[in-house]
């Protein structure tokens, strides 16, 4: 098991290196002097000496590969530079924005798992019935509907017309848990639809395959009730691939957060990203992109490790 874990972690290093390199190169692709990236467009307000000092500080007077090394070294210690507008360290801007995004992501996952796996099980246990047909159709629609359409439909119905939920804003969970749930319910539902669609499809096809296997027939033949066959025997195997999807889909949740947080005015990472694009806060943007890419890789490692724990074939082979 230890070798398996170490192997997974080592395999992630080159990928994270490529992510960092991409983010660095993107920064250098900005037209003009890379110092714009650091001081913003307000270059004129700096004296040439100050600019030279900043240049030296960020290693911009050194060869490009040294610059990358310096930048990466700083990034690894959490130093992403300072905002050119507020002069706050970038990390201090990002950290307080993490809670709403994380909360919405976790809720999205919970809703998607309940809806997606539930619909998948219903579809798989009654293949080609109207229930299966309805589930498949809903999954197709859920995968194709854009976030902004779902978000506006939900907002229009539940916030603007029925006034059941707030249309925008965020209440921190430590201040008022119920109010917090109310303020994040619509964004979570918006994001969960696409994820639930993927989960429905995977659960359905996985479960149909597993239900055909001899061990399920054995379980039924010895008189086990159908719900026990499902919960004790079939689902465990059918849901393993679902785990992989959850890891892959984290990226989609991040991408979706950019849109839903803009729509529902949630002060999270997604909204910060849009603001940093429009405000030309390139260092904030750089840090956020790096964070998004790395966390997707880390999530996939966690999924791989869980897989190792849950799947005896992997657990025992790597002993």
């Amino acid at each position: 098991m230890a070798r398996y874990i170490v192997g997974r972690l080592l395999a992630a290093i080159p990928v994270i290196f490529v992510i960092a390199l991409t983010v660095f190169v993107l920064g250098r692709l900005l037209p003009g002097d890379p110092i714009t990236f650091i001081v913003g467009t307000s270059q004129a307000t700096y004296t040439p000496e100050q600019l030279a000092a900043i240049r030296h500080d960020y290693g911009l007077d050194q060869p490009i590969y040294v610059q990358f090394g310096v930048w990466l070294g700083k990034a690894l210690t959490g130093d992403f530079g300072r905002s050119f507008q507020s002069r706050q360290p970038v990390l201090d801007i990002i950290v307080p924005r993490m809670l709403p995004t994380a909360q919405i992501a976790i809720q999205t996952w919970i809703f998607a798992v309940i809806i997606g796996i539930g619909a998948g099980v219903i579809s798989a246990t009654a293949p080609n019935s109207w229930k299966d047909w309805l589930g498949t159709l809903t999954a197709l629609f859920g995968a194709a509907i854009p976030f902004f359409l779902t978000a506006s439909l939900l907002m229009f119905a539940f916030a603007l017309r029925l006034h059941w939920l707030p249309a925008s804003g965020y209440v921190p969970i430590y201040q008022d848990p119920l109010g917090s749930l109310r303020s994040t319910l619509l964004p979570s539902l918006t994001l969960c639809l696409g994820l639930a669609a993927v989960l429905t499809r995977q659960t359905r096809s996985g479960l149909i395959d597993v239900l055909r296997q001899p061990y399920v027939t054995t379980a039924r033949a010895k008189g086990l009730r159908e719900h026990l066959v499902l919960s004790r025997h079939a689902l465990k195997n059918a849901l393993l691939p679902v785990l992989t999807i959850m890891g892959f889909q984290l990226g989609n949740i991040f991408g979706g957060a950019v849109i839903t947080e803009t729509i529902f005015a949630i002060p999270g990472l997604g909204r910060l990203m849009v603001d940093s694009v429009t405000g030309r806060e390139y260092l904030v943007l750089q840090a956020l992109v790096l964070l998004a890419g790395t966390s997707v890789v880390l999530a996939n490692i966690v999924v791989d490790l869980l897989y190792g724990v849950l799947d005896p074939r992997i657990r025992l082979r790597h002993g």
């Binding site: 995968a143 359409l149 950019v258 849109i259 890419g293």
Partner: protein, 291 residues
């Protein structure tokens, strides 16, 4: 052997593929939706009743009427005309970005899988790294760096989808490389280029077509997303994304401003997804006999 039987009866394979393709009602729905959108994108601007930029400040945010079938927006512009013009932008982005991602993607995937070795390892790590970024976030950043306009939106979407094509083709070629007929062709002295492009390339066309169909849907959604965030195609160019962005401020009084372009994007993505699913089943050679 599958490839041999396919070569013997290409016409039958094609006929079966067409039959399997149209056998499913949902696939037919996909074809209808996609054809409708292609027609809109190609000819929409010629049948648009009004100039999409013509303002009529007396009649702003009107509900659907006989003169304006879908009503007017916040500047009194005809929504139907703007949707029709916007469809051509969406279609352009969809097709251009798929071509720009798939052609280099196929080439890279083919070459690295055929060559193997360190080239394959290095390129695959780079692709893994690129694919780790959430697509919309990478596209957003690329447009932010290059500047918001139509061409850069297409480039950004192409860069985010390119690794998927390369990876897909690599997998297919790795499997196809081991077929006996490739060994046979090599033993009669065919060169690498000939093997790659004449004999391996046909193996990857079907999955690439499937991916391309899904890719057009993704590109349309991504363009709308970027424009919605204000970093895509800039106003006053009518695109579905910019229409939603502006319409959102009037959601309470005129929900149609968001719903109409939103519904078209939904139809487009659904259509291309269904088309992709249909192609996947129709072009799978393993289904030839059962089909």
């Amino acid at each position: 052997m599958q490839p041999a039987s396919r070569a013997e009866r290409p016409r039958l394979f094609f006929a079966n593929a067409v039959r399997r393709f149209f056998a499913r009602r949902l696939v037919v729905l996909g074809v209808v939706l996609v054809s409708f959108l292609v027609l809109l994108g190609a000819f929409g601007r010629f049948i648009a009743p009004y100039n999409p930029l013509a303002q009529d400040l007396v009649n702003v945010l009107t509900p659907p009427t006989m003169r304006h079938w879908l009503g007017t927006d916040e500047l009194g512009r005809d929504i139907l005309s703007r949707l029709l013009w916007g469809s051509s932008v969406s279609l352009q982005v969809g097709i251009a970005s798929v071509l720009m991602a798939s052609i280099p993607g196929v080439f890279v995937g083919l070459v690295v899988a055929y060559r193997g070795g360190w080239l394959d390892s290095v390129v695959m790590r780079v692709l893994d790294g690129l694919m780790a970024f959430p697509a919309l976030i990478l596209a957003l950043t690329i447009v932010a760096v290059l500047g918001p306009n139509l061409v850069n939106v297409i480039i950004a979407i192409a860069v985010t989808s390119f690794p998927h094509y390369a990876r897909l083709v690599r997998g297919q070629v790795l499997a196809a490389r081991e077929y006996d007929y490739i060994l046979a062709i090599r033993s009669v002295g065919a060169g690498d280029t000939r093997i790659m492009f004449r004999h391996l390339l046909p193996n990857v066309i079907s999955p690439v077509l499937v991916q391309a169909s899904l890719g057009v849907g993704f590109a349309i959604m991504a363009e709308a997303g970027l424009s919605f965030l204000g970093v895509g195609v800039q106003p006053p160019t009518p695109t579905w994304g910019t229409m939603i962005q502006v319409g959102f401020q009037y959601l309470e009084v005129a929900p149609g401003l968001v719903m109409a372009p939103g519904a078209l994007i939904f139809m487009a993505v659904l259509g291309f997804n269904l088309l992709g699913d249909g192609l996947r089943e129709a072009l799978d050679p393993h289904l030839t006999r059962s089909g």
